[in-house]
């Protein structure tokens, strides 16, 4: 889990800890991901192979057949990464910084899966959703993407304009005594 200082808001009143992170550096890459040369170049720049559909590998998440969401590693900037990608990949791509377009939330606690299952039409059982899995879906009425950071921790990304709404939604869903105890029996 990230350092406490990296959170702008934390609520620990419920069954899980809900925290809104400060700015997280990330970029969107759109490219023909089936292009072999592009895949090789991507591996070189990102340090890992292009993830399979609905997977996240080392901070690189599959968003669509032609789209990746890349968490920008510490020590580099979205700008640098965009430049590197443009240098290495010969085919046309679109690589842009989206750090400010996104809000990032952390759900910490054993019940994190159940809190999310109150709004996301996703099988969140441990068998079906584990570290390395990634879903681009919705939570309640909000478009989100999320993945397991650890066995008891989920990271969730939504649009920045909905940061407060999403935080409030999660705090409401996490209220004590309101968990179905279906996924964690």
């Amino acid at each position: 889990m990230s350092d406490l200082m990296s959170f702008s808001e934390i609520d620990g009143s419920g069954a899980v800890l809900v925290a809104a992170q400060r700015r997280v550096a990330m970029m969107t890459l759109k490219a023909d991901l089936s292009n072999k040369a592009t895949r090789t170049a991507l591996k070189k720049v990102l340090g890992s192979a292009v993830p399979a559909p609905r997977k996240i590998v080392k901070g690189v998440a599959w968003m669509a057949p032609d789209e990746l969401l890349v968490m920008v590693p510490e020590g580099t900037t979205p700008e640098d990464l965009v430049n590197q990608l443009h240098t290495e990949i010969k085919a046309p791509i679109l690589a842009v910084d989206v750090s400010d377009a996104r809000a990032v939330m952390t759900l910490k606690g054993n019940a994190a899966r159940e809190v999310l299952a109150k709004g996301a039409p996703v099988d969140l059982s441990a068998e079906a959703f584990a570290q390395g899995d990634f879903r681009r879906t919705r939570l309640g009425q909000v478009a989100v993407a999320f993945w397991m950071e650890a066995d008891d921790e989920i990271t969730l990304v939504c649009f920045a304009s909905l940061k407060q709404f999403m935080f409030d939604w999660l705090v409401n869903a996490a209220q004590k005594g309101s968990l179905p105890a279906y996924l964690n029996r």
């Binding site: 842009v96 989206v98 400010d100 109150k118 709004g119 059982s125 309101s178």
Partner: protein, 996 residues
Amino acid sequence: MSFRLPNAGCLIDRSNPVSFTFNGKPVQGYKGDTLASALMAADQRMLGRSFKYHRPRGLVASGGEEPNALMNMGEGARFEPNQRATTTEVFDGLTARSQNHWPSLNFDIGALNNRLARFFPAGFYYKTFMKPQWAWKHLFEPIIRNSAGLGQVPTERDVDRYEYFYAYTDILIIGGGVAGLEAALESGRSGAKVLLLEQSPHFGGRFMVDDIEVDGRDGPAHIAHLLAEIAKLPNVTLRARTQGAGVFDHGYALGYERLTDHAPAATPRHRLWRIRAKRIITATGALERTLNFAGNDIPGVMLASAVRDYIRLYGVTSGARTVVVTNNDDAYRTALTLYAAGLEVPAIIDARPNGGGEMSDQARALGIRIETGHGVAKVIGKKHVTAVEVCLQSGTGGAVESIACDCVAISGGFSPVVHLWSHCGGKLNWDEENAMFSPDPSRPPTDQNGEGFVLAAGTASGALGTNACISTAVTAAHQAADEVGRSIKEEAAPRLTQTPDETPMAPIWTMPAQAPYKLRSKTWLDFQNDVKVSDVQLAAREGYESVEHTKRYTTLGMATDQGKLSNINGLAVLAGALDAEIPQVGTTTFRPPYTPISLGSIAGEASGPLFKPTRKTAIDGWHKSHGAIFEPVADWRRAYAYIQAGETTQDAITREILATRGAVGLFDASTLGKIIVKGPDAGKFLDLLYTNMMSTLKPGKCRYGLMCNENGFLMDDGVVARLDEDTFLCHTTTGGSDRIHAHMEEWLQTEWWDLEVFTANLTEQFTQIVVAGPNARKVLEALGGTDVSREALPFMGFIDGKLAGIQARIFRISFSGELSYEIAVPASQGLLLWNLLLQAGADFGIAPYGTEALHVMRGEKGFVVVGDESDGTVTPHDLGMSWAVSKKKEDFIGKRGMQRSFLMAAGRKQLVGLRTLSDTEKLPESAHAVEGGKAIGHVTSTYFSPTLGHPIAMALINGGQSRMGEVLDFPVGSKVHKARVVDLVFYDKEGAQQDV
């Protein structure tokens, strides 16, 4: 009288009394009681009045099928009407009131309807309220509205919380009776993930009531055994108080969990389970049917199985002296149960000429009188049963004897609960022997692969005997496990059951068989809707052959119980009247939910502050703390105006406009859509999307563009900036950002997949701030960092640079008509830049302005707003924007649509300006222009212009462009506003102000 028995009732805890009120009167029950059983113990037999005739009504059933005992439950913000007493668990402080009577349950004025019943047959409304025409609105409808409905409407906002839960499972089992539990245990052993839902608080179904022996255990002991075995399986989940409410396509099912109805708490009240299952087993049991004889609705006449339930489960009896009336063997269980409880059974009236099997012998041996081949002519009693008149079943109802009693236990056979099987298209067979519809396993509901995904088990499958019930459950479990890719390795030994031999039931649809009209018109089919045998027969005579039409004509099977007790009897009577076979008449459609579920559960958490997501810009907090009032624009909230102390909203708007036109204004435009379109074919793509040419735009320049749909109607507009040879930034309207991005992707993915173009929606990545007004340049120069002079950054250009050290893209575009810069910075820097601009602008008279000031200023300039001036039926030509529609381009979306003769016709509505003849009188919003008694157009925008000192408006008027100078009438109410057609541009037509 009804009363509590000593030493009976396996569900109640006599050491735990509970107090509640009924119609304001305190009543005591025990923990585990339902409201129905507790009221029965208190000898409260009348529980409501019927819908149409206001007849006294009492309990009929013991479960969710109960048609009569509907209550106004709770108070204030927790008030809810039409709650079934049979499924409500009592708790301390519960308040319930009976429904549909005035002034009181005991004495009800509306009961007059009962005396006049022969004037209110089926279709009464349709026949009576036809003439005179005025009377419907002013007389009939008000009276009907006043008297219609059962419960009261809540007056306060619901204070409870609700939520959803998305659950995934291999096998979903609906029903926690013996069939469901056996299926859960058996399929659970395969390792499949199993979820079982049971609507009541306890498991076991009829096994908790009936004397059944399985593997040497009695019913409750066998259920306890099954529960203990299931508890060992971590892959099986049981949920009580959770109804399988509906089955839908693709293995989707709804579960309705009632968390706090039995014990109020702050946690969510109801949880709606949204379940995806690979296979669904419906083990929903069967419902007993009523028998159709005169007076069968009088309190004290109950289903035989319910009479037994109340004794065994809750230790209460509905009478001291019960006559059992039946057409099958099951009701003998009730007689034996009554006898064992020490209660009198003066007679069993069995309509079958030869009576029943083993249990009838037992009853006879106990000395209980059995009259075979007999029926009930009518029930004697007003507010409760006092006697039955017995007659020959084959006759016309000539009574042979009157038997005094205070309860009549009736059984007309059983109907499997096929609702969930049928919700998604499962088909039924008519089972002649048992006179019931049961699921046809060869025609199940099918999934996306064309395979059946619902299996029926137990009595719900039509297997009425205990042996068959259990074996069908085991078979269904095996099939389901197999189909979800699990195999059951070890075959469990078949259960050994002990049940008495039974004689087949006899279908009895009217009692006696030759009942005359006088009896039939007092014989109820549908208790909740007051539909009688005579009503259905009347409908048939009047030509209603379809069961669906008969349902709507007579109201049979409508309302909150959806005919759970009445459907089969009703359609059998209809079949009889039509001289048709029952399967030919068929059933009405079974639709989810199985019983009504709360609206709160459907809304889930989406109420109060979580009702709808509200998107907020990075500067939203500043707006809020500086007097902003907001308006919703798409999902965003935008500052409408900033109200200062002592100001009205109009004052604030006027001040903001004058400050901007006179000095400099500041505006948060972050909500405008910002879509990057990049690739070698980007220019080509945009030429296809926009009506005007974009590929000729030079890098560093901006161009205003229009987008139309295929019909040629305007759908969005905005400024496009060319960032480099391959890259464009398309601004959209606030409401268009997501929609237009989806529009682009749809065309790219489905039609122009050969274009090498990528798009990304960067709307939220940037804060965009407008600095507009004669002093705008001075403010930016005060911040410093980038040359924003006319030479370096001309009108309709943009430049990347730093402002006060912040990386920014500065556009020279103007929606206000003033010298205007739009500055885009990463959203994390947005608030900082806003504050820096305010500081730097202080000396130059800077003032933030809201969306209304923006709208007025663009109105002064004659700029259109998509959604105000356009409404989905307006082309660019209609708006006088033919200059933005390319004639050179070979194709673009909407080109051919626009060329259709109607859209090219002269005399279409065209956008014009309007100047009221009076300088003080603003045209009302959307006012219609009327000429010669015909509407010729309407106002699209109307404002008071503080800049000009008079009202201005825009309107779409038939042939508007050729009407310059004409004065038009705009009648609103009794007043006629007059306005002259003028040019659209009221302010600075040459554009001198913005190009400096």
